[in-house]
């Protein structure tokens, strides 16, 4: 029971007044930062690094503060997804798909409370996963070579089809657009700039955050401007009812299998370096949609569609800490920032961290448990407070959204060029919305495209141009098989199911079209 005594030592470190206060502060600030569109976990943590240093905090308290912000932001991201249909941070984008329709149906309170519980479940079990599997999981990461990563990303895209749109062709178009955007910048395999037009700001490619804020937040502002003063806008928005704040037990119970499955899935996605929480929530949502969406309710306010991505992204947040602590390889953007903090505190993450700095590691893990409980306690009673955001009329809210978008993006890179790129994406998002093209695949293409391409080329390069390397290991064959099934099955079976559904609805004398 060495593990338990280690954990007990960790709690002894974490349960001091100072550390508890820091965890509370971190959770609160993190939730707010996660909720504000544009300020995601990575910049939330980055902004607070100077605070940790100015307060003269030691290694463990600093880490406790910053990881609480990280977990808090994962909770907070869902709030604006549900209430405003604008993801508060990247991993929360899948929560929009069912969270916002729920809010439109007057069930915003329920959606928020349910997602709070889902976040807790995901984070709680992922932290246990971190405790139990950190040393062992390091070996799983080693099974993933370039060819395996390429197969994994291919799998992600193959199952992308029916996620956020009923029109597969439009989804595919959006994904292709995202992949194209990902090609901008200096190609790391040859050092040649692509699509940069001699503009040095484009050498690093399109910043994912700039794209997401433009596409989601700014396009929302543009849509508002377009409808400004018309009856439609005034009549739809204030009609939204928050509804009951405490979800019924039967509602929670119906989501338990979903939470169980997506915890595991999200955690695994988080552990894989480079994939992170966004992939966790994305895979969780699409798997649940495939598994349990028999009536086609996903995307129209299905509670399970809210629980799945929230459990998935919080589990992934815990999972992403595994390679960061155990290998020194960040599992996500935010853990990359945390890695920098560790280095600045003279702690070298890597295989020896668990033996050389056990107080830091176990204190941190204990703090994660404490922070998670705090966050649940904070998020359920405060749901009422958060839902008040809805009562703010759009003519006040939208300028705030615009302001936060600009300030947030400028705060990351300090570059006015990024602001112009953001406005460009805002216009693009507005056009795409008019054409009814889903925005999520664009973002996923931008996010995963580069890694996918780079891993493809690494694999082929290492094999001296032999393409068969892509299906050379059992793991790649397995991943490709799932990808092919995931792509082909909906095409073959989809028509059949749709016909059945139509028949079922006709039999019920269905009212919906």
């Amino acid at each position: 029971m060495e593990l338990m005594s280690n954990l007990a030592d960790g709690f002894a470190v974490a349960l001091t007044w100072q550390n508890l206060a820091l965890a509370l502060m971190g959770c609160f600030l993190g939730t707010i930062m996660g909720a504000l569109p544009g300020l995601g976990p990575s910049n939330g943590v980055a902004i607070l690094i100077p605070l940790a240093f100015t307060l003269g905090l030691g290694a463990t308290p600093s880490l406790i503060l910053l990881t609480s912000v990280y977990y808090g932001a994962m909770y907070g991201g869902r709030i604006s997804s549900i209430l405003l249909n604008i993801p508060g941070d990247e991993p929360a984008m899948m929560t929009c798909l069912d969270g916002y329709p729920m809010a439109q149906q007057g069930r915003a309170g329920e959606a928020l409370a349910l997602s709070g519980i889902a976040s807790f479940v995901g984070a709680f079990f992922a932290t246990w996963g971190l405790v139990l599997l950190a040393p062992q999981l390091v070996k799983v990461a080693l099974l993933f070579g370039p060819a395996e990563y390429f197969a994994l990303f291919a799998l992600a895209f193959a199952t992308l089809g029916g996620i956020s749109s009923t029109n597969q062709a439009k989804s595919a178009f959006a994904a292709a657009l995202g992949l194209g955007l990902a090609m901008i910048g200096v190609d790391t395999q040859t050092g040649v700039p692509r699509f940069t037009f001699g503009e040095v700001h484009l050498y690093d490619g399109i910043d994912f955050l700039v794209a997401i804020v433009g596409l989601f937040a700014l396009s929302e502002v543009f849509i508002f401007l377009e409808h400004r003063g018309t009856d439609q806008d005034i009549s739809t928005k204030p009609k939204m009812v928050i509804g009951r704040i405490v979800p019924t037990w039967s509602l929670i119970r119906s989501c338990i299998p979903t939470m169980g499955r997506t915890t595991v899935l999200g955690f695994v996605a988080g552990v894989l370096p480079g994939a992170g929480a966004s992939l966790g929530s994305f895979i969780s949502y699409s798997m649940e949609k495939r598994l349990v969406d028999r009536k086609g309710t996903f995307g129209k306010g299905d509670p399970r569609g809210v629980a799945a991505p929230e459990t998935g992204n919080n589990a992934a947040a815990g999972g992403a800490l595994v390679p960061m602590l155990a290998l020194g390889v960040p599992g996500s953007g935010t853990t990359a920032v945390l890695l920098a903090v560790l280095l600045a505190l003279n702690i070298t993450p890597g295989p020896l961290l668990f033996t050389q700095n056990p107080d830091v590691v176990w204190g941190l893990i204990a703090a994660l448990f404490i922070g998670n409980v705090m966050l649940l306690a904070m998020n359920i009673p405060m749901v009422g407070l958060f839902t008040r955001v809805l009562l703010v009329p759009p003519r006040i809210l939208m300028p705030i959204v615009a302001m936060i978008s600009f300030v947030g993006i400028y705060g990351i890179s300090g570059s006015s060029f990024d602001l112009m790129v953001m406005v460009g994406f805002g216009v693009m998002g507005w056009v795409l919305r008019k054409l009814d093209v889903p925005l999520v695949p664009v973002i996923l293409g931008t996010l995963l495209g580069n890694e996918m391409e780079v891993n493809f080329r690494r694999a082929v390069n290492i094999a001296n141009g032999d393409y068969s390397v892509l299906i050379s290991s059992p793991l790649t064959i397995l991943l490709w098989t799932i990808a092919v099934i995931g792509f082909v099955l909906p095409i073959l079976v989809g028509g059949l199911i749709r016909r059945r559904m139509r028949m079922a609805r006709d039999a019920e004398g269905g009212v919906r079209d």
Binding site: A21, M25, S42, A46, I49, P50, F53, T54, L55, G56, A141, L142, L143, F144, G145, P146, V186, D187, T188, Q189, T190, G191, G198, V200, H201, Y203, D204, P273, G274, L327, G328, V329, P330, A336, V337, L339, A340, L343, A344, N346, T348, P349, G350, P351, L352, L353, I412, S413, G414, S415, F417, V454, R458, N461, I462, N464
Partner: protein, 330 residues
């Protein structure tokens, strides 16, 4: 919480007021010392700014907190252009730089910018290059690795954390050139997003060797996962790294140091330039900084002011020649 924060603030404010009195008579004192890290939080430049800023303040060498600004883009090119075009006479500003900065300047990767547009202040240490293999590899020495490359270049994949043409790539090419590999363009280099990622792929068996900085490799060396077959330093390091054989003692005269340091705006006043050179020099000589270097695997590189400027100029020229030879630069 709030009250104690305010108290700390007052204490800090008191220090700020007292500091100018404590410091020796300077012609120049920065009002708002600022350090630009030309990358997102988390990289080496960010570390350089934050650690140096923190240490300078701890030692009372600057009157207030160093504000660290992340200005990423173009591998440092955006920050370089910003300094040259918009902040050319800012006396309070320093910018983190490293061998990567020199590499990009040499390869014209900052369009329209050259190294003499800024003033080079000083180095705070160097991270020597290493070439490593997985612990269970059959290869024991650098010449053995080079022989394998000479025999069949396609059989050896070497991974590193920089792009093709970047410093990690160039280091291995310098070694290959010294070892007599006829056409170094055949050396198979696979670029990764960071040293840690490349080491992971080395352990996974996708790669045969790793090229990177000592600080990237040390954690994996201590855990016994990888083995350093050559240190690209003029002589062996002291302390815990003394067991690493240099490339030179194995008959391959290759040296690759990733230095870390700072430059300032080109029209910075002489008083401000002297001030920053002196502060960095004092910092470098302090026992506190020695401890930071020790903890982060930084090796000595004590160059400030004119000497540093000279050093950067030489390395830019060397990299330019090498890049031309291997066809990265036309």
């Amino acid at each position: 919480m709030q009250i104690s924060t305010i108290r700390r603030g007052l204490v800090a404010a008191a220090f700020v007021v007292c500091a100018p009195l404590a410091a020796s008579a300077q012609d120049f004192t920065p009002e708002n010392p600022e350090c630009i890290a030309p990358a997102n939080p988390g990289g080496g430049w960010d570390f350089t700014c934050r650690q140096v800023g923190k240490s300078l303040q701890d030692l009372g060498l600057i009157p207030s907190t160093m504000q660290v600004v992340n200005l990423s883009g173009g591998g440092g090119g955006v920050a370089f252009a910003e300094v040259v075009n918009k902040r050319n006479d800012d006396d309070d500003l320093i910018v983190a730089a490293s061998s990567a900065t020199a590499t990009r300047l040499a390869q014209n990767a900052f369009p329209g910018n050259t190294m003499d547009q800024v003033r080079w202040i000083g180095a705070v240490g160097a991270d020597y290059g290493v070439i490593a293999v997985a612990d269970d590899s059959e290869i024991q020495t650098l010449p053995e690795l080079m022989d394998a490359i000479k025999e069949d270049p396609t059989s050896v994949s070497i991974g590193g954390g920089s792009a093709v043409g970047g410093w990690d790539h160039l280091k291995v090419l310098i070694a290959a050139q010294e070892a007599g590999v006829e056409d170094v363009r055949n050396v198979k280099y696979i670029a990764f997003a960071g040293g840690g990622e490349a080491v992971t792929q080395l352990l996974a068996g996708s790669l045969q060797a790793f090229t990177g900085d000592l600080s990237e490799a040390r954690g994996f060396v201590e855990s016994g996962d990888i083995r350093v077959i050559a240190l690209l330093a003029p002589e062996r390091l002291e302390g815990e790294f003394s067991g690493f054989a240099t490339a030179r003692e194995q008959g391959i005269d290759a040296i690759g140091a990733n230095w870390r340091g700072f430059y300032g705006p080109g029209n910075m006043s002489d008083a401000a330039y002297d001030y920053w050179v002196e502060q960095i020099d004092t910092l470098y000589d302090s026992p506190e900084w020695k401890a930071v270097m020790e903890a982060n695997g930084l090796a000595p590189l004590d160059l400030q002011g004119e000497e540093f400027e000279q050093f950067v100029a030489e390395s830019v020229q060397n990299i330019e020649e090498l890049s031309r030879e291997i066809g990265i630069l036309q």
